[in-house]
Symmetry: C2
Amino acid sequence: MIRLYEYWRSSSSYRVRIGLNLLGLAYESVQIDLAGGQQSTAENLARNPQGIVPTLEIEGLRLTQSLAILEYLDEQYAAGWLPGNARDRARVRAIAMAIAMEIQPVCNLRVAKDAVSASGGTYSLESWMRDHIGPGLAAVETMLDHPQTGRFCHGDAVSLADICLLPQVYNARRWGVDMNQFTQISRIEAEMLALDAVRMAHPDTYTLA
Amino acid sequence: MIRLYEYWRSSSSYRVRIGLNLLGLAYESVQIDLAGGQQSTAENLARNPQGIVPTLEIEGLRLTQSLAILEYLDEQYAAGWLPGNARDRARVRAIAMAIAMEIQPVCNLRVAKDAVSASGGTYSLESWMRDHIGPGLAAVETMLDHPQTGRFCHGDAVSLADICLLPQVYNARRWGVDMNQFTQISRIEAEMLALDAVRMAHPDTYTLA
């Protein structure tokens, strides 16, 4: 029994849903309502000391941090989300981390709300998000201007980079970032969304409790 | 010839310095003065599309993103920074990422200055740093309250987690976070600083240009 403690709109949860679906692993989704503060309950803190989502219960383990979870799934289920040699793995991980470390944490709702509320009107949630997602994705677009970019971020198979990219694009669109300027990213978004397993992980497939 | 484009005070640069030193790999350090805006020059953007540090030139490659770099070094030089089985690797990566994804990006100087300047006095750089580093390290301390914690974060050998932890502790002390509350982290800090290779990577060993 695989159980994913997650939130439908959380992009790090969305990453893990894509991974599980691509592997065809059935799981129970337990929604932790970030908007309602459920991430900070004693129950959630016991399973995730950082008070965030996602947490994956699998094979008697309780795993946190979406990229650590995806690397685990890749290793245990031979997912093929990382290329066969070290230099190419470094490229894929660098793209994934350019998203997961440079863009997403700054646009984490808690951090963004903190900055916006302290700004007393200088920043709106929308402008904070746009100011940080836009330049971040521009850098990723530059990284994708590379001979090894194929149908997906690296060659013609889904990698860790694509699994991180799609949820960030969802967020970018949500906050009104102009995606037309990013041709490689938009093209890869379409490739990803053409896959049933990926589409099934989309936040819109969830109904609010 | 290995060349590291980095900044003495950057914690992600500090991670890579620790890694290179632990492996006994000699390298040339090229300082990119973040305080002086050198990260945004055309030269630096050409080697690092995100306009940050570090960038590692090694074996004809140009690698970015500190954790992707460390995973590369671990693979190519059999560094042993990740344990032998998937469940333990997931634990080590989760601790490393709890630091590198949840704490460090929010306390990136660019992001912090942005939030502080928009706050018009509500936040100082010091208070922004403390508000985000303190709770982040508290969560890491909880993760270290675990039977697999040994001399270091995972067992008795240096792992990716320790390499991420030490620079974050340096930052925490710099911004006045009370480290006495974190007994496991402080103990591991001391273990790390007892190693010559690690001590050689410390920001204090650098003189400003």
